[in-house]
């Protein structure tokens, strides 16, 4: 299929907008992505035509929403090639997916003195829930470090693993450095020691094909809003064998079978983990977003983004005294950088005034910033709807920044 960037940009009305009278350059895609018109339309359609609460409804609209919600689950299942659609739990985002596992898997399988290995590259969302768990259970966290290019030092993993290691958790792709981690290799190694692996895929699924069957990961989590779907949606994939053994996370409607004050029995998967009214309109639009990605083709997306990364890296490196943080061989379209002596906040403020949206700060990865001993970076993250022309605008903007602060 042809990759027609003009046609694609027409699907995203927001991109042709002006900010402070300047054309918007949206390079904050790692924080959240824009939504194609078909996703927005899906939301409108359901609220205007079918909206009714799902499950157990005998009436037409309720059946319609239930069907569409389950259909979305099936789209997700196919998107990551899971074995069963009941292995797909709808959550409200990656953070909730991680907390669910930290709580339910943790309660069932983690006891005193057990160890969890976490990579040094993680987002706070993949650190804090495990810290809270370890506090509760008096268990320990061990850290798998990365080298100065931003690549995990896998050779260290074997020595970190002990008889007490109960889980390894890491992200597929680092949000602050863009590193694509060799998760397949890590999973193989972990499994050779019978250790399950949790993958935080928040920055993974939108950039490359993900096949959980082939990866053989035990869990894979991601957020809808980072893959062109509405806010308040997310997914937890878990192998049936784990989900079956885990106790429920939240209690409420729909996750139960029979309730009395003496005793309650739980519903089957996936509903055991979906307490309360789900964000069904969000989920339905989430399914539409994945269909949209499929229609563009994830390989086409990866190819275009690689071009943007290569072009951007080359271009931005031309700026004097600019350091790029994260130079892994294998990375997604994220460029994190600092210009010597210029605070990221100052750079961000000026770029903003030029219509360029970048993120500045620690990107919720303080340990990564600590590693480099910097307060934060300026991060430009590209999506498939971005162009090299926009990178040129960023380049010109950075020249202005340099001129303003270094004169």
């Amino acid at each position: 299929m042809d990759f027609d960037i003009k046609k694609i940009r027409n699907d995203f009305q927001i991109l042709s907008q002006q900010v402070y009278g300047k054309p918007l350059v949206y390079f904050d895609n790692a924080a959240t992505t824009q939504k194609p018109q078909c996703v927005i339309d899906k939301i409108t359609e359901f609220y205007q035509k079918y909206n009714a609460n799902v499950h157990r409804g005998v009436h037409f609209m309720s059946a319609k929403c239930t069907e569409a919600n389950e259909n979305a689950r099936n789209i997700v299942k196919n998107f990551i090639n899971a074995n069963h659609s009941h292995e797909i739990i709808f959550t409200h985002g990656t953070t909730e997916s991680i907390n669910l596992v930290a709580s339910s898997f943790g309660d069932r399988f983690i006891t005193k003195d057990d160890e969890i290995i976490i990579s040094e590259l993680e987002h706070h969302s993949n650190i804090v829930p495990w810290q809270l768990l370890c506090e509760r259970k008096q268990a320990k966290i061990k850290v798998l470090p990365f080298n100065d290019k931003g690549e995990l030092i896998i050779e260290n993993l074997e020595t970190l693993i002990s008889k007490k290691t109960k889980l390894i958790t890491l992200n597929h792709v680092s949000n602050s450095l863009g590193t694509i981690n060799p998760i397949k290799k890590i999973i193989e190694l972990a499994h050779s020691h019978n250790i399950p692996v949790f993958i935080d895929g928040a920055q993974g699924v939108q950039h490359q094909e993900v096949d959980v069957k082939e990866l053989d990961c035990d869990f894979y989590a991601f957020s809808g809003h980072k893959i062109f779907a509405p806010t308040g949606t997310g997914v937890l994939y878990g192998k049936e064998k784990w989900l079956e053994q885990m106790p429920p996370y939240q209690g409420g409607g729909d996750m139960i079978d029979i309730v009395t004050f003496e005793n309650t029995t739980y519903n089957e998967l996936p509903f055991k983990f979906e307490a309360g009214t789900p964000n069904y309109v969000g989920n339905i639009a989430f399914g539409k977003a994945l269909e949209y990605v499929n229609s563009i083709g994830i390989e086409n997306i990866a190819k275009h983004e690689k071009e943007l990364l290569d072009y951007g890296t080359k271009k931005i490196s031309q700026i004097e005294n600019l350091t790029i943080y994260g130079n892994a061989k294998n990375k997604t379209s994220v460029i994190s950088f600092l210009i010597n002596g210029i605070h990221p906040y100052d750079a961000g403020m000026i770029l903003d005034k030029l219509g360029i949206a970048v993120r500045t700060g620690h990107h919720c990865t303080q340990p990564v910033m600590d590693h480099f001993n910097i307060p934060g970076t300026v991060r430009a993250s590209f999506a498939f709807y971005n162009t090299t022309e926009e990178i040129d605008i960023l380049y010109e903007g950075l020249l202005k920044v340099v001129k303003m602060f270094n004169s």
Binding site: H55, R56, A63
Partner: protein, 143 residues
């Protein structure tokens, strides 16, 4: 009569009604023909819990064929069960396993067999096929 023939028969019976109300009335009528499960078989193990209506199902195996009895506390559900039992009972396990139950669609009662209406019917069809698989395995000649 084969499963296919029996489905055809039902489709023809329903053809004379073009109004859904008449169809449902007929369904209510049919519910009275259901071979009701024995009281002693109406126990929790035979209960298929479909959230809203309860369905009990029992299977007997005799001379290579399966015979179903069933019941439900909801009448529309019962009517559809009556149809399903009429179509599938008195068949060999293999026939039941292979059965494609298209008649539900064709007589316009599709919504009753959707996984989104929690009436237990879909679970019942699954259960009927599971019985068939169970009896087929049991009945294999010793090799």
């Amino acid at each position: 009569m084969t499963i296919k023939n029996r489905q055809q028969e039902i489709i023809e019976e329903f053809e004379i009604y073009d109004d859904w109300m008449d169809k449902y009335s007929y369904l209510i009528e049919l519910s009275k023909d259901l071979p009701i499960i024995n009281d002693d078989a109406k126990k929790d193990e035979n209960l298929i819990n479909g959230c809203q209506s309860k369905v009990w199902l029992h299977a007997d195996f005799d001379d290579g064929k399966i015979y179903f009895t069933a019941d439900s506390d909801a009448i529309i559900t019962k009517g559809i069960i009556a149809l399903l039992v009429r179509v599938l009972s008195n068949s060999t396990p293999q026939e039941i396993i292979d059965a494609d139950l298209h008649f539900i669609n064709e007589i316009g009662l599709k919504e009753n067999l959707s996984p989104t209406r929690s009436n237990g019917l879909l679970s019942m069809v699954k259960q009927m096929k599971l019985y068939a698989i169970a009896y087929k395995t049991k009945n294999l000649p010793c090799l």
